[in-house]
Amino acid sequence: MARTQKTRKLSRSDFLKLSGAGLTGAALFGVAGCGGGGTISGGGGGSGGSTFVFGRGADSISLDPIHATDGESFRATRQIFDTLLDFAPESFDMIPALATEVPKAQDGGLSYTLKLRKGVKFHDGTDFNAEAVRFNFDRWRDTKNEYHKGGGGQSSDFAYYLAQFGGFDDDSVIESVDVIDDYTVKFSLKEPQGPFTRNLTMSPFGIASPAAIKKNVDDFWQEPVGTGPYTFSKWERNSQIRVEANKDWWGTDLPASQGYGGPHLKEVIIRSIPDNTQRVAALTGNQLNGADGLVPDDVPTVKQQEGFALEFRPPNTVGYLAMNNEKEPFDDPKVRQAFNYAIDMPKLVEAVLGETGEVASNYMPPLIPFFNNSIEPYPYDPDKAKQLLAEAGVENLETELWYMPIPRPYMPDAKSVAQIMQQDLKDVGVNAKLVTYEWGTYLDKTGKGDHTMCLLGWTGDNGDADNFLNVLLNSASATPSAASNVAYYKNPEVDKLLEKAQTTVNESARQDAYYRAQEIMHEDAPWVPIAYVKPPIGLQDAVKNFDPNPTSSESFNPVTLSGGK
């Protein structure tokens, strides 16, 4: 015992002396080292002009898009698969893709007939036609279909079909998909669905090769075959996905201004670098041609670097503070309005989001059709807030403010948001304790309504108002568990308007309903809307025609890399 004590002590003392001497030096060196690490030149990163390396924060889960719900899966499947319809660059305007025109509703919204593009081939050489479209929709809808499976261990089990088309089998809004001729297909619906055509643009509904699925449905999620501008080549788990140019892509000769054309790159590598700091270091060190998931504070950093530019994804998100309308004192609209007046939102958004966000006035982002432009955000007015609180009989309120433990696209730094709100609320006599939980627990607890106030947000799927307002504020979504209406806002009038807008295809009727719903919500103030975030994407100057799509994943077909550097 004595002996071991002695040896241990000697080496320990030496270590302590050394560390003492080198303490400050080491700290400084560590920081400098991180900055310098970026100078390592990357394989094919900045030169060649034919391989495009894009960095992102996480690996894909499935490359069969119907088996995925995460944006990182869609980022890869967008290259490999095409959807029937698409969005024009940087907007929510629908354009044709595998269909040749955006269809009009027939029979009062009960059927749609789609003309399909001729001469399109899947990457395995088989033909794309009406039969292929029918095969895909049958596979998604019919749980007894022998190909209604696959997707690997983390499959979402066709979750997006369930979410967008009401359910499987008899619950599905789509009753049948019928082949009229080789290049015409007809969708028959059980009831009119306002967002139907917009749903067809969504990444999960990319059309897959029936031949490849029949050959091996269980492995299709890791050996995907579509019609997209790039063909799948290799997936190295947790590291990168490689895709190669599809020389016979149908969109090559169509106008680039509409998002067609290309593919101009020989190869695309989509690389996963989970750590934000490392990813930005890799970008500025020219190991990547582009990267997303930049935190707002990195925007000026990348901007100042020579040879780099930023693109902003159009906002398709809303971040908010939800007050639990079922809990005192938030059952009183005056209190909720007071909170809207109490927080200096322009100051908060400037500090936390900088250029990457704009103050929210509404309960959905402005790019979404039927956004009510006449609504102004509540102004910052602490005196008015105090007055409203006094009228509601609320004094020295002690409450809790929950914030997300991790960065989300709609709120990259919830902890700072919460701390700034806490200070503003203190000024009007509200003492909010900050609380957070591990992310899974957080969603679980907020979904059960355990909170009094919580920060959350939403990223849109299909560019339709229904996808924001109905999901987040319909009383039907204020369920006892897994609620998406975490404000537990229940207004029968709003419910009626939302339902009306959902089940009609009459655009002006939808507009009236959504406009009115937004006005009522603004008045009822179940949330304090915070901001619409425009996620930044860092790119080398050599990268051109990168058109960020609001749906958080875009096809890289128009992208070019000019020369080496």
């Binding site: 920081v31 990195d298 950093t301 902890k415 700072s416 957070t436």
Partner: protein, 301 residues
């Protein structure tokens, strides 16, 4: 060694030369330059912690959003953080939290560890085996991992972080106390006490415990260093102090959250809390080492 120990024990039991023994200890401790350095630094931290409201130039919570990550200046010697709060003030208040958290954790570990160690060492046989196997189970996990598990179960908060870190360090204290007790319990003076009719409790409290103090003090001090570090680590991982508490580990993670740009423009937001953690841990380690050397009878000459 045994001989020296006996001489010393005789001196104690005879009640003579105690003053010179303390002088011996102080001389030995303060002849160690690193120990002096450690004591001085720790003294500064303790003063900072006690007089934080008088020493800190600003409130640690006062935000100045437009001055986000402003560098060190005359008004803000350590610069400002991601919400424009004064980092110097936060580091000063952070000393309060880190030291209290560390001390609380060590107090818990020492109390429980000493009871377990005394019981195991004095009773021997099956209570010994049972208690020490239990300690081995705790010891089998890497300390920070076990702390993370405990905090995850209890829910993240500073109190739970202290509790977790305290639990994690129980086995180390228990083992040290047990081995000291075993070396003391068969000594002649214990036999003498027993012969005089003292009960178990009296023997343990007046005979065994005081004579096992030296290794315990050393171990507790060294544990304090690790406890401060572990509490900071838990806060860094978001499992400790609640926002907006100015805790050193949490300050680090807040700075890192702001991305790559911090490494280029906001280094001060990382360096100062980081250096505070390093200095506190290092100084406690120096003190612990000094104590060990000073209390080691073999070092006397």
């Amino acid at each position: 060694m045994a001989e020296a120990q006996i001489q010393q024990d005789e001196a104690v039991s005879l009640g003579v030369e105690t003053r010179s023994r303390r002088q011996d200890f102080l001389r030995a401790f303060f002849s160690n330059r690193l120990a002096i350095f450690g004591t001085a630094i720790m003294g500064v931290f303790i003063l900072m912690a006690v007089f934080a409201p008088y020493v800190a130039p600003y409130s640690p919570l006062q935000q100045h959003l437009p001055q986000k990550f402003a560098g060190p200046s005359f008004a803000h010697p350590f610069g400002q953080d991601e919400l424009g709060r004064d980092i110097l003030s936060r580091v000063i208040y952070g000393a309060r939290i880190s030291l209290t958290a560390g001390l609380a954790a060590v107090a818990l570990a020492t109390t429980v560890g000493t009871i377990v160690g005394l019981a195991a060492g004095y009773l021997g046989r099956w209570p010994d085996s049972m208690l020490m196997r239990l300690m081995d189970v705790l010891l089998a996990f890497p300390s920070i991992l076990l702390a993370i598990v405990i905090v995850s179960i209890l829910g993240p908060s500073l109190a739970n972080a202290m509790l977790a870190v305290g639990i994690v360090f129980i086995p180390q204290i228990a083992r040290v106390v047990r081995s000291a007790v075993i070396s003391v319990r068969e000594r002649d003076y214990i036999e003498a006490e027993r012969a005089l009719g003292a009960g178990d409790a009296q023997i343990v409290l007046s005979g065994i415990l005081p004579n096992s103090m030296a290794p315990l003090i050393v171990q507790a001090t060294l544990t304090l260093a690790t406890a401060i570090l572990d509490v900071a680590a838990l806060s860094f991982l978001g499992l400790g102090a609640r926002a907006p508490t100015p805790e050193w580990g949490a300050m680090l993670t807040d700075a890192f959250r702001s991305g790559f740009g911090v490494f280029l423009q906001g280094q001060h937001a990382i360096i100062f809390p980081g250096v505070a953690i390093a200095l506190a841990v290092l100084s406690v380690n120096f003190i612990g080492d000094g104590l060990r050397d000073a209390l080691d009878p073999r070092r006397r000459g």
